[in-house]
């Protein structure tokens, strides 16, 4: 799920049309404020999202362009988003 649809799903969690089987990482996909991982260390925009994530626990390994790029950061930290 990408773009505006993803933003809608992320912002209004019960919005119709959200694919309940979409992995979290894809649900966060797309660019634009509110659509991604807000407050990510490597990104002033808070935008982002991408593909791939375990369904329960563990990291979203590839949040995608525009936001936090999971992995080794410029400040030496290992950063990622995980499902709790």
């Amino acid at each position: 799920m990408r773009g505006l649809a993803a933003i809608a799903c992320a912002s209004f969690l019960t919005a119709a049309g959200c694919d309940s089987t979409t992995p979290l990482g894809q649900e966060m996909g797309g660019a634009g404020a509110g659509g991604g991982v807000a407050g990510a260390t490597a990104s002033p925009s808070g935008a982002g999202g991408g593909s791939g994530a375990p369904s329960a626990g563990g990291p979203v390994t590839d949040p995608g362009a525009g936001g936090l790029r999971a992995g080794l950061q410029a400040n030496g930290s290992i950063a990622y988003v995980r499902n709790k």
Binding site: A15, G71, V81
Partner: protein
């Protein structure tokens, strides 16, 4: 007896709460951002001095004798041309990581040899990295699952030459705070049974620097909407 207005208010609050915590499939919507810092590194020439006898002395040692990765990165960039401050590709970041270790060792006497009592007594993570950062805890290890450990491991795979600085500076054996508040050592490596992640406990009293490759990494976990 609750008023009609009060009941509507309660229903509204419940509806908002439900919308903010539940996805369309009814599953709980909870994520968090995990950051695990690069190791803090002490200047061992300072650490090898007689251990301070007061807490203020320990805090001064932490203030003056402990480097953050950012400090080393910026100071080393002047003399280590392999370091690239910006822009940074993934390859640049990996090279920086390795080069900072070399510079830390050669130019700053900064090695991952820690005095346990200093870790126990001083909030090194908070004071050096800022609000929200803390020492990795036994609780952190308990809440991580195999995917977390695998991701952490994979992120550092290929970073740091295994024949030189890598294992010494960037290993996944880490200092931690145990459930009982004492300082111990554990591992972030994947494939370790839950009951075997803590390898040393109750080290608080130690005032001698341990010359072991145990990284002092900090953690910050931020809930996401």
């Amino acid at each position: 007896m609750r008023s009609v207005r009060g009941r509507w208010l309660a229903l509204g609050v419940a509806a908002i709460s439900l919308a903010g915590s539940t996805r369309s499939d009814g599953a709980t919507f909870q994520r968090e951002q995990v950051e695990i810092s690069a190791p803090l590194l002490p200047d061992v020439l300072m650490l090898y001095q007689p251990f301070p006898t007061t807490l203020d002395g320990e805090k001064a040692l932490a203030e003056n004798g402990v480097y953050t990765y950012d400090q080393l990165l910026n100071e080393c960039a002047a003399t280590y041309p392999a370091i690239t401050l910006t822009p940074l590709s993934s390859a640049d970041i990996a090279t920086n990581y390795d080069t900072v270790a070399e510079c830390a060792h050669d130019a700053h006497n900064a090695k991952p040899y820690w005095t346990p009592k200093l870790i126990a007594d001083v909030d090194l993570c908070g004071s050096k990295l800022g609000a929200g950062w803390r020492l990795i805890s036994e609780d952190d290890l308990a809440t991580f699952v195999d995917n977390d450990y695998q991701f952490i491991h994979d992120t550092l795979a290929g970073v740091g030459d295994p024949n030189t600085w890598g294992p010494l500076y960037f290993g996944l054996t880490v200092w931690l705070r145990a459930h009982d508040g004492t300082i111990g050592v554990g591992t972030l490596e994947p494939g370790v049974a839950a009951g075997q992640r803590i390898t040393m406990r109750n080290l608080d009293a130690g005032t001698e620097a341990l010359q072991l490759p145990i990284a002092l990494r900090c953690i910050r976990r931020t809930d996401l909407p």
